[in-house]
């Protein structure tokens, strides 16, 4: 790997160094913009006792849901688990520790983690079970709770196009949590649909500058649709 060339040749290489007990931050919202091949590689490696940070946990049989099948996840921070029967079962049976986290707080925890901000105050969750046991301060007459940032041992991200320097752009609403996740990994791995030549991406249109990215790989994607709604 010379200079700023972040490309790796295989998914095995892309997830080199992941170990049981690590924290993995994953981009994606529902099944949209999820790093599906990197997740599959984590499954293949069989590492377990993972803490996963992601808005959702996929569905039964796809996305992060496949890591539930072999009990690879011991703890998850997520905002919504409604569409995943296995997740709900493991949660109700206390087989998986679930820290339900408001969606905006989750995004901000990743953003803060990547930006070197250890914690932040927010009104979100005050007076609810989410605020219990958290430090409270009043700002401008509003009660706020202290929320801590998150940093992952790995961040796994799905982009649209990248260059070999690791500059990434996302496509449509597949952006979602990916840019924040990309900043918050000690090792950030991005899989994309296309790796282009340096200079092809307009610098002012880059969503994730390459400084955050350690490894880039080009893959092919199923892009499963969770709720197919069309107008007649």
């Amino acid at each position: 790997m010379a200079g700023f060339d972040k490309r790796v040749a295989s998914y095995e290489e892309a997830m080199e160094g992941i170990e049981s007990g690590m924290t993995v931050i994953a981009g994606g919202f529902g099944l949209c913009g999820i790093p599906e091949n990197l997740i599959a590689e984590i499954k293949r490696r069989g590492v377990n006792d993972l803490t996963v940070v992601s808005n959702n946990c996929g569905v039964d049989g796809f996305g992060l849901g496949i890591l539930l099948e072999d009990r690879q996840i011991s703890k998850i921070l997520a905002s919504y688990v409604g569409e995943n029967a296995l997740f709900e079962k493991q949660m109700l049976n206390d087989e998986i520790e679930v820290v339900l986290t408001p969606q905006g707080t989750l995004a901000e925890k990743m953003r803060a983690g990547g930006a070197g901000i250890p914690a932040f105050y927010t009104a979100t969750g005050y007076g609810t079970p989410i605020g219990e046991g958290k430090e409270v301060r009043e700002f401008n007459g509003r009660h706020c709770i202290l929320e801590e940032a998150i940093v992952g041992d790995f961040a796994i991200v799905k982009g649209w196009k990248a260059d070999r320097y690791g500059n990434v752009i996302y496509r449509h609403t597949a952006q979602n949590f990916n840019p924040m996740a990309a900043t918050a990994g000690k090792i950030t791995v991005v899989e994309v649909e296309e790796i282009v030549e340096p200079g092809e991406l307009e610098p002012s249109q880059i969503h994730t500058p390459g400084i955050y990215v350690d490894r880039i790989i080009q893959g092919t994607f199923e892009k499963r649709i969770e709720k197919r709604t069309v107008r007649s």
């Binding site: 919202f29 529902g30 099944l31 949209c32 913009g33 808005n55 997520a78 905002s79 919504y80 688990v81 409604g82 569409e83 709900e88 949660m91 109700l92 679930v98 339900l100 408001p102 969606q103 905006g104 707080t105 989750l106 995004a107 901000e108 990743m110 953003r111 927010t122 009104a123 979100t124 969750g125 005050y126 007076g127 609810t128 079970p129 989410i130 009660h143 649209w160 496509r171 449509h172 609403t173 597949a174 952006q175 979602n176 949590f177 990916n178 840019p179 924040m180 969503h207 892009k223 499963r224 649709i225 969770e226 709720k227 197919r228 709604t229 069309v230 107008r231």
Partner: protein
């Protein structure tokens, strides 16, 4: 007659104003988009990172990378913007969204809302609801007035875990339109053919009933 889901959406849509940025929750709130009054322009915010949500795609337009917060495939209207989830919640938490409409299990006379968790039973998560209720000044909550067994959902104090504290100021139920102010529900309108007595009976929280409570009207469809 209690309002239908469509009528509830129609009634909420009357609160839309030209130039409003609006976040619509899942369920009845989503239907509000079908009743945006003629001559006004609103931008729908979807908290996964889309401002300017358009209609559902045609078969040709269908794109797995283009979804709304309910994970449904959608389109972007002309003038839309797409951004990260952090940006999306910055506009929500920063109070930039003009109106938020969302469903609930219970609300109470202090403006508390419970909408995300029934202990031991149903676990879905709060999604963006806690951020939305904490960030917005202008929220309309849509819900049925009472459970199927006739138990009121408009309470003195919410029994279920809260989504937000002291944040709801307007409620539209299938029976009535109410405001919440100074620790009480204020009955503003009633559904066609629904008596004040029925609303009083099905409201467990403190309810202020003005001398005149107008009946909602709907155009025949």
């Amino acid at each position: 007659m209690a309002l239908t889901r469509e009528q509830m959406a129609q009634r909420v849509a009357r609160e839309l104003q030209d130039g409003f940025y609006v976040n619509l929750g899942i369920g009845i709130p989503t239907l509000v988009a079908n009743y945006i009054p003629d001559g006004i322009d609103v931008m729908l915010q979807s908290e996964n990172g889309l401002l300017g949500m358009g209609r559902y795609p045609s078969e040709d337009e269908l794109d797995p990378d283009m979804i709304n917060a309910g994970k449904e495939t959608v389109t972007a209207r002309p003038g839309a913007a797409i951004f990260s989830s952090a940006e999306s919640f910055a506009m929500i938490r920063g109070g930039h969204v003009d109106l938020t409409v969302l469903g609930a299990f219970e609300v109470d006379q202090q403006g508390n809302i419970a909408s995300w968790m029934i202990p031991g039973k149903l676990i879905k998560g709060m999604g963006g609801a806690m951020d939305l209720v904490a960030g917005a000044d202008n929220i309309i909550c849509t819900m049925t007035h009472a459970s199927k067994h006739g138990e009121s959902k408009l309470l003195e104090k919410c029994a279920l875990p809260l989504t937000g504290a002291g944040c709801i100021n307007r409620v539209l139920t299938d029976l009535a339109y109410l405001e919440i102010k100074d620790g009480a529900f204020i009955l503003k309108e009633r559904a066609p053919g629904v008596s004040v007595e029925e609303i009083v009976e099905k409201t467990a929280g403190k309810l202020i009933v003005p001398d005149h409570v107008p009946e909602m009207t709907f155009d025949a469809e």
